[in-house]
Amino acid sequence: MHPRDGGWAGFLLAQLDTSKPLLWVQERMAILESGRVHPPGLPTQNIIHVEARDTRDALCAMEEGLRCAALSAVIGEIWGDPRALDFTATRRLAVASERAAVPCWLVRLGGSANLSGARMRWRIASAPSLRNDLDPKAPGAPAWDAELFRARGSPPGRWSIAYEAGAFHLVAASGDRAMGEIERLRA
């Protein structure tokens, strides 16, 4: 993800179950570079925020969180390409997440896609938002250019997605072939 693009947060948060608490781990560098989580902007206030000193601490905190089945999800933000974040680390997270049935999202800010044990790997970028019917000059419902570049059990793909009225929609990206109709991905 581009470090100055906060778009992924909206994409991710819209998919979360907000009835249970959320563990949000941020590396210190990630906080400095792209800001701290701001609860008033989130759909739920029920979060536990961890400010980790370095990548090792952040990964550790994520793994602890994945042992707790009472969480709705674990989100971890890692800045750049630290050495501590190798294939083993990501694989550990993936296995822990599957064992506890707690979704785990590892967010790599400004990193490059190297080896990873993740089950699904997305590349999210903000896309120009939908038309705002009330005010054409104002930003409308958020939209993303989401690329699933690696996934186990499903073919990779690239979609333009918008989130409006509590559901994801596929939208025709400009210059792309017209998709005609809007398909609902997920409630």
Partner: protein, 530 residues
Amino acid sequence: MIHAVTKAAAERGARAGARLTDARALDPALVAVPADPDGDAALVQRLAKWSGRWSPLVEVDGADGLRLDVTGVAHLFGGEEALARDIELRFARIGLSVRVAIAPTPAAAWALARFSPSPLAGEGGSSRRLRKGEGAARFVHAPSPRSRSARVDPLPRGERGLLEQLAPLHVSALRVDADTIRTLERLGLKTIGALLAVPRLALARRFRGAEDVVDALDRMLGRKPEPLTAAPADPPPRALLRFEEPASHPEVASQALERLIPDLVGQLQERHLGARRLSLTGYRVDGSTAVASVATTIASRESKHLTRLLADKAAALDPEFGFDAFALTAEWTEELGAAQQSLVEEPSGERELARLVDRLTVKLGPRHVRRPQANESHLPERASGWVCAVQFSHSLLGEGDRSTKSSGGGVWRRPLHHASHGPPPRAELEEDLKRPQRLLDRPEAIDVIYATPEGMPRRFRWRRAVHDIARAEGPERIAPEWWRQPSSARLRDYYRVEDAEGRRYWIYREGIAGDGRGGAPNWFMHGLFG
């Protein structure tokens, strides 16, 4: 055997220590109740705790006495006489008659409470002297459940006043053994006054081997200290482990912890407590100690959880020259009833969560694991407060749990615009109030091209990258908090902007041109939208 008698029974010839048949021979109407020494002892223990209302230092003295250190306490109850009366009254209310005495030494107070015949009389003069009397004013009061008599003895002040009061008392008031008393009586020394008249050296020589009479006299007159040792009301649960030989291998603390935890958990279980703070103290051979302590979010007495919390910190204890003992103390405990594990395999959310918070806090420190707490404020950076997750109150947690997506902003209040004094009144968050998901800790200055003086931004440069603004919405004006900030603080006009690539930002212009609070307005980047 008669253990104790009431005043009425005493008048009819019954005496403690006599046989019941003998007493019945004198008066067949005597009513006998079986003695219960254990019950009495338990009662005295309970009363000792209850007497903490008058003094922090209470000691059980013998089978039927309590000693309270009232040094510097009496004025809280309106003087020593008022204190004595208060004690008498309160004990009378729970059906006990007591004899109260206040004296400069514990031994004298004991003697006066038990042997002084003089009732509370002619106090006026002596109580004034009392204040400049000895610093250590102590008293004994003897709850004697079976006796109906209640007396407050005069308050002796100064060594002379004390001597005057003690002189007429029988030598058994010295609290020495019966043989010594008998010897004294045979020598014709029946009162303390008579004893004091004997040269000290002669007395010391005569009672060398037996219970030391001189020593008892010294204690009574305050020539020799006799400190009170009050047992702590409720010693915290504590498990101890001693080694025969000092151990200095690195894993010693972890191994000790493994052996101490079951012991401590057993104690907690017995007392229906859960630990909130635990500390493992290692005692080194050279006299120094090393401490590792952890806190928990909710009371717990689960050995697995507690071991896991302490394990890392215990392993970090440095043995130096070797530990020869370990103590594990639950410094802070809370009531915790016996809990049944659920029948179905469904972990309870709150407990799981509390454990997670504990583990994270132990690992990363309390300031790095936090939960949001809303503040009453317009300013975004002040509105989003954080509290350490360990201290996060459970009522708030409950509120957070209940907030579903539709009322997710329920905890957050939007301050209203107001013209009156003080902080803004609470109001429900409006749905259209858009806040970014991420906020920079410190707003960053950006260069913005905008339509002066108060127009929309067109283009901005943030961290050396230029962003063309495709769409913008605003302004949302947030006024400075004049009751908190200096008068030079400028208002902020927030804009939601979207650049050509679709990234959405929250930027603001600080101040407006010509507001008299500085030059041209500055622009800042404050948040990122998702």
